[in-house]
Homo-oligomer: 220 residues x 2
Amino acid sequence: MPSDATLDGSKQCPIGRAAGCGAGRRCPMSPRTYEAGAMLCGESSAAERLWYVQHGSVALFRETGDQRGAGVPWAVRRPGQLVGDECLVQEGYSDTAVALTQVTLCVASRDSFNQWIDNVGVVASRAVMGLVISARCADGPRPTSAEGSAVRRVARWLADEARDGRAPEMPRGVVAGLLGMLPETFSRALSRLSVMGAIKSTRREIRVVDADVLMAVAAE
Amino acid sequence: MPSDATLDGSKQCPIGRAAGCGAGRRCPMSPRTYEAGAMLCGESSAAERLWYVQHGSVALFRETGDQRGAGVPWAVRRPGQLVGDECLVQEGYSDTAVALTQVTLCVASRDSFNQWIDNVGVVASRAVMGLVISARCADGPRPTSAEGSAVRRVARWLADEARDGRAPEMPRGVVAGLLGMLPETFSRALSRLSVMGAIKSTRREIRVVDADVLMAVAAE
DNA sequence: CGTCGTCTTGATCTTTCTCAACCTGTGTGG
DNA sequence: CCACACAGGTTGAGAAAGATCAAGACGACG
């Protein structure tokens, strides 16, 4: 997919629009595809690149203290959001970013991106500012057990995230982490919701079959 | 405190620096003081102002679904960070912001701030961009019970946040929320740490008396 | 001095974490 | 093409942690 594949008016990405791709200017970022599971950057490693998500989703993990290997997933970046934008203000990445699905990302190096901002001016930095602010607002706090039982949190997540009665496809361990629970607990909550008739859950997908029941559990 | 109280070189705030206060230009934000407990803005109410924290700290609360009144505290804004910057990109605030201590904030209306950015140009929007990005990176995910016991999380928080052996002064209920536990649980954890001899805790302050013990519990 | 909000303490019960075994779909190599 | 190994997911039994409910203590403030 060439970088000018997004030229058509309103569907153009904010970076491309700020760059004036429509007017024949070059976008500072170039598209690339990664497989699911690919690690884009590691927490506290040298921050040299940033990405704009075109398609797919990317999970952000952060170590909590001196924890063991993996860290906890705490946010997901979706199409229209930036990943690794902290490279613009600091030397190391704040999070480990991993592709949850196959993703199409536009990449830029920090230096070229900074140059681009300086060349284009306020329109560019405003565009980046807007992206960063909206991404942060979209990050809700991870819920804890004080915010309702595991079943309820899962029900609420399904109610919020399901499109066409299908939950987003991402590893269950990641979802569990985002919801502040262990994979086992998440799995048990799905079983309970299945028994209640709210959902049908197989190993590879979760379908909502009775939204009313789901909402009832979520509200409870 | 007049807005040019921060003129002295490196201690000048990023907004003032971008505005060129040193060169006699006017800062777009004007300082103001609020008492502890003052609510700056309410979640989803009309977003018309943003603040820069000069002194003190501000807690951000967000409703989790259809929860009861208060919502959960999930982040703290400290000196050098912005509050309510989402007004630049959306109509309603994402969080309820409450002053935790007496605070000195610089305020600006959305419109005047936007005008200022357009007048000053890329230097201004870059400064805002930097502030927003670093604030977001500073927000860690709220821990849950999977990330260690309550005592351990409290120990870690004390180890991270205590200055001169004193924990930051803020309501215990807020700290509990940030640590993903109930006020009762937080209080019990403090008792345990007191018994271990790591801290001395009264109703109005928490002092670290044995950092080694504290670190041992935190690492565990 | 009395009231109120916040914090603490206590007893009990539910939840979920823990540890372990097992299942299942995927990919690999013979 | 099949057997196998592997990662991710599920299920189960048990224990420990934290939530809940309730009452009391302390400090702030009028």
